[in-house]
Amino acid sequence: MAIKIIVMMKQVPDAEEIFIDPVKFTLNRAQARGIINPSDENALECALKIKDQTGAEITVLSMGPPAAESAIIECMGRGADRGVLVTDRVFAAADTYATSLTLAASVKNLGEFDLIIAGESTTDSGTGHVGPGVAEFLGIDQATYCTSLHIENDALVAERDLEDGTEVVSIGLPALATVLISSNIPRRAKLRLKIDALRKGIEKWDHDTLKLPPEWVGIKGSPTVVGALKIPEERKRAAKRITVDQLGELVKELGGMGLIKTEEEEA
């Protein structure tokens, strides 16, 4: 039987078009174009590679506003079989705890699975905490910072990229992996698959589907809060304007500061 893979995907705003409302401390994402979070594209590609080799049933799971539907359709266009969007106002403004809880509840609602693949971190909040948080809620093992994933028998064999080397680890299924942007080059969607996906549609789940107490989710279920904002205090710097013709003088100044090693000094 084909193994069941869940890919966790978040739609994030493209680039820096977002700004913060300084009164309400909320992000204004309205005008920014939504894209698939970059490392989630790699997570999906890892899943698709497993599907290519041994067959797999891939479900894309995303929590976010209704607009995230387009990102899920894009994933299905690349080869995912099913898309679930967990979308409800009460889930909004969640920190990592509440996000992980809601996603873990969604995974439970999906039923049996073998492997969950997440991105290493998102570009809009970038904590990388959601994957491991979900794994802890589900009580399963994890391999983070992966550059390659293989299924062997009932285990996941993963290469993990660490500060001081590469670890190859084998962990029992079910398990969760998070993958790095450098792990692969994501494929493009196929028009035919995208049309199929649009026809098939995605599933939308809300608090009624998941039956989680309202005080566990969204902003209410989040232990961390933003207390205040500040403009960073900076050391005042001179910003002395230099033209390209004056670079010789700048170099002399740098030399005077001992920043340019001459062979004389080295000897």
């Binding site: 990388g128 948080g133 001081d164 700048l250 920043l259």
Partner: protein
């Protein structure tokens, strides 16, 4: 499977005391990030009139305990693994959470290294508390015994204060390099309690098959860094940058988008989600100066920025601003340095002959 439980706050916050620091270690040495956290932990514990407690896991913890004591740790709680050699999130999360349930710490600081970030949210979920990630400033509020943590906002320009008012421990991570290394204390006064722990069952299916060591570029102690951003135009834009870095005997840095685009590997990234650097000289070529980049390099002694936009935010963070094309200015700079070196040599030669 664990039951899903929301983040329920404990009733008696006053029961939670002391500042815990996770002493990430390899081969008997505490990681740089963990030492920085220990330094911050010490500062905060003094301010709150609490103790700083190191949590260590590993095979032989004697050297780790000695090192932590020398940096002012008041108490070390160690778990020596008798049946497992290596790292496992599940096992480590269990051990650390047991220490938390037993000791009820007020604050818990973990380095934002790969190991730290692998662990921290599992621990937080298990202990029903929150985490503020990638903080760049930490302080203690003695009146409310709160940890005041600051991190760059998701947008740009501002820094957010993140508080965990009702849950304990108050957990945070900071990327290695965010703070200076602490000074050693004169008279270490530290109690060490090490217990033997078996994790066999937890790691029955967790097998580390291989570890291939490699040295990764560490920019945190570099003296000179020349960085390129999107304004260098493409992967080729790094050629003059590499030449200039070589001329200066420095290293090459980068902003995040150029890493994301694959122009250069991640190990070169400077900023909130890359490395935090404090060189004597930092040259930013074609980098706009968004806050997530600035927080990673603003402690540099001298900053030179090169940008075609005379109003780029990076201007106000620079000591010298070159309003020009990055490729041209960087190449010219390298030329001038070569000339300077030659002139300097000639001078030195003539002095010798004189």
């Amino acid at each position: 499977m664990t039951d899903l439980v929301g983040c329920i706050a404990p009733e008696k916050l006053e029961e939670y005391r002391n500042v815990f620091v996770y002493l990430e270690n390899r081969n008997g040495k505490i990681s740089r990030g963990a030492l920085e956290m220990l330094g911050k932990g010490k500062e905060i514990s003094v301010k709150l009139n609490e103790k700083v407690v190191g949590i260590a896991i590993g095979q032989d913890l004697k050297a780790v305990a000695d090192e932590a004591a020398s940096f002012g740790c008041d108490l070390i709680l160690g778990a020596e693994l008798s049946d497992f050699n290596g790292f496992s999130s599940v096992a480590y999360t269990n051990i650390i959470s047991d220490f938390i349930f037993e000791q009820k710490p007020n604050i818990f600081l973990i380095s934002g290294s790969r190991e730290g970030r692998d662990l921290v949210s599992r621990i937080a979920v298990k202990c029903k508390t929150g985490v503020a990630a990638d903080c760049i400033e930490l302080d203690g509020d003695p009146t409310n015994r709160l940890l005041i943590a600051w991190r760059p906002s998701f947008g740009d320009k501002t820094i957010d204060q993140i508080l965990c008012r009702k849950h304990r421990p108050q957990m945070i991570t900071s990327r290695p390099g965010s703070y200076k290394l602490p000074e050693k204390v004169e008279k270490p006064d530290c109690e060490t309690r090490i217990k033997k722990v078996k994790v066999g069952k937890l790691v029955a299916k967790h097998k580390i098959l291989e570890f291939k060591p490699k040295t990764r570029l560490d920019l945190t102690s570099s003296k000179i860094i020349v960085s390129g951003g999107l304004g260098i135009g493409g992967p080729k834009g790094f050629e003059p940058i590499r030449k200039l870095a070589k001329e200066l005997e420095g290293e090459v840095g980068a902003s995040r988008p150029v890493v994301d685009l694959g122009w250069i590997p991640y190990e070169h990234q400077v900023g909130q989600t890359g490395q935090t650097v404090r060189p004597k000289l930092y040259i930013a070529a074609g980098i706009s100066g968004k806050i997530q980049h600035i927080v990673g390099m603003k402690a540099s002694e001298t900053i030179i920025a090169i940008n075609t936009d005379p109003d780029a935010p990076i201007v106000k963070y620079s000591d010298y601003f070159i309003n020009a094309d990055a490729g041209k200015a960087v190449a010219k700079l390298a030329d001038e340095i070569r000339k300077y070196k030659k002139a300097h040599l000639v001078e030195a030669d003539s002095e010798q002959t004189a």
